[in-house]
Each structure stands twice: as structure tokens, then as C-alpha cells.
Amino acid sequence: MNRVKARIVRGSIRSERIAYITTAGGGHAEVLLSASQTGSNHVLAVEVARDKNNVLIELPQETSSGDWRVWVNKNQILSE
């Protein structure tokens, strides 16, 4: 399990968080999560693949645009 850097915003209910993760392409993946799947500045995700600069992560939920997996820059990975 990896901690991946994200901007975390409170959701519409107490246990809900909205995470914005910067993708390798420069965009943002938005994903609705439970508080237990996030920290103050990160989300929990699983590494699936890796290339020279980027890591493919699988998020705990589907993003608003329909992806479970997104490429992020390896600098976005806070810890493994």
C-alpha cells in the first residue's frame, strides 16, 4: 500500500473525503473516498506498474472520470 500525495477536501458527510491527485499528464483525478482511506495530504493506493518517471496506482474507488488506475509522477509517492 502506498501513500500518494493528494489535496484532501471534506465531503458532504463527516466520513467522506474528496481527493484531488495530480496525474502524470498534468491533470487532476478526483475521487470520493471514505476518511479512512485518506490522510491530511494523501490517499492510500496500490502500485500496479512503474516506468522511468511514473507509477501506475490503483485507487480505492473509481475517479469521477471513470478510472480506477492513474499514472502519477513518482515524486507523488510519499511512502510505500
Binding site: 500496479v48 506498474a49 501506475l56 490503483e58 474507488q61 473509481e62 475517479t63 469521477s64 472520470s65 471513470g66 478510472d67 480506477w68 488506475r69 492513474v70 499514472w71
Partner: protein
């Protein structure tokens, strides 16, 4: 048993199943692979429906679906940039861009399911017919319905549904040979 992402990729590599074009790595989740929307849609011909107002269809041995389809619907191509706006309560037939092949001997069946990101908007991708039988080959037809109160723009190439592969316990005596075998967009 449901295949995980790794098993799906192994089955694809061994040509035990086929998805064309091959999905990118980001299209997988732990136990499914996303398929994308094709530009071909089949929409209702409301002029024809108006002309035959009051007609009742009777599904059964004498019912011929291709005749029904050709009488009441028309095929259209959606411009990539513009998309197709599915109004609330609207129902159209669409296709996956990918074609799949589940050879009978591979002992694989599949289910097509919606994606939660679209389901939250009210979009359904099938009308109680998610099963893809072992032996099926062709493009997958989607029965798209907007159950939500807001119009949804559908754009060719967008991830529209997910495919879940299941291993059968034995080899079926006969693979799928119904009228939708090798169906094309």
C-alpha cells in the same frame, strides 16, 4: 471464479480470450477491465413510432428482432468532439469500441457491468442483460438509459462499462450460437 487483472492479462497474452484493440493498463481495475464507447449508436425513429402509434409488439416465436430494429430505429454515427446528449429517461442502443472473443474451450464467460462514476449520474449500460456467454464473439451492444434528471453527454472513446470475466466450472457442450454471435457495429 472471477479473473483478476493479472489473470485477464495472462489469458489475453495466451490468446485464450481476445479484446481488440488491446486495453491500456489504466483501463484495468483489480477484477475488471473497462471498455470504451464506439461512435455508432442506434436511436429511435420517433416519426415511425408516431406513424404506428398504438401498435403492440408481442415477443415470442413469431417476433423478429431485426425487423423490429430496422423499423423503429436508425443507425447514426456520433461526432467525436460533439458527443451524443442522452436526455433524462432516454434510451438508446450503443456499442463498445472493442470487440471480444471468448472461445468455448477457454472456459470463460463474462458480464458487462456499469461504472460507478456513471451510475451516480443515473446512467445504466444494460437492461437486465449483462451475460456474455462462453463462445461469444463480436462487439458488445449497450442498452443505455439515463435514469437521472440531468442530460448526460456521451462521447466516443469514453470508458463506458466494465467487463468482468468468470471461469466456468467445466467446458460447455456447446458455445454461444445465438443471433448476436459475431454481431457488428
Amino acid at each position: 471464479m472471477i479473473l483478476t487483472d493479472r489473470e485477464i492479462q495472462v489469458f489475453l497474452a495466451n490468446r485464450q480470450i481476445s479484446i481488440k484493440p488491446k486495453p491500456d493498463l489504466v483501463r484495468y481495475s483489480s477484477t475488471s477491465v473497462d471498455l470504451t464507447l464506439a461512435k455508432q449508436f442506434r436511436v429511435w425513429d420517433f416519426n415511425q413510432i408516431e406513424k404506428t402509434k398504438g401498435e403492440i409488439i408481442t415477443p415470442g416465436p413469431k417476433f423478429r428482432y431485426p425487423e423490429f430494429r430496422d423499423k423503429y430505429t436508425k443507425s447514426i454515427n456520433i461526432p467525436s468532439g460533439k458527443g451524443y446528449v442522452l436526455a433524462p429517461e432516454a434510451f438508446v442502443l450503443a456499442w463498445t469500441h472493442e470487440t471480444i472473443d471468448l472461445p468455448n474451450h477457454s472456459r470463460i464467460a463474462a458480464r458487462i457491468e456499469g461504472k460507478s462514476s456513471l451510475a451516480r449520474l443515473g446512467l445504466a449500460v444494460h437492461v437486465t442483460a449483462p451475460t456474455i456467454h462462453a463462445g461469444f464473439e463480436g462487439s458488445l451492444q449497450l442498452e443505455l438509459c439515463n435514469h437521472g434528471p440531468v442530460s448526460i453527454r456521451l462521447t466516443p472513446g469514453m470508458p463506458i462499462c466494465q467487463l468482468i470475466f468468470e471461469m466456468t466450472l467445466g467446458t460447455p457442450a456447446k458455445g454461444y450460437s445465438g443471433i448476436f454471435l459475431r454481431q457488428k457495429k
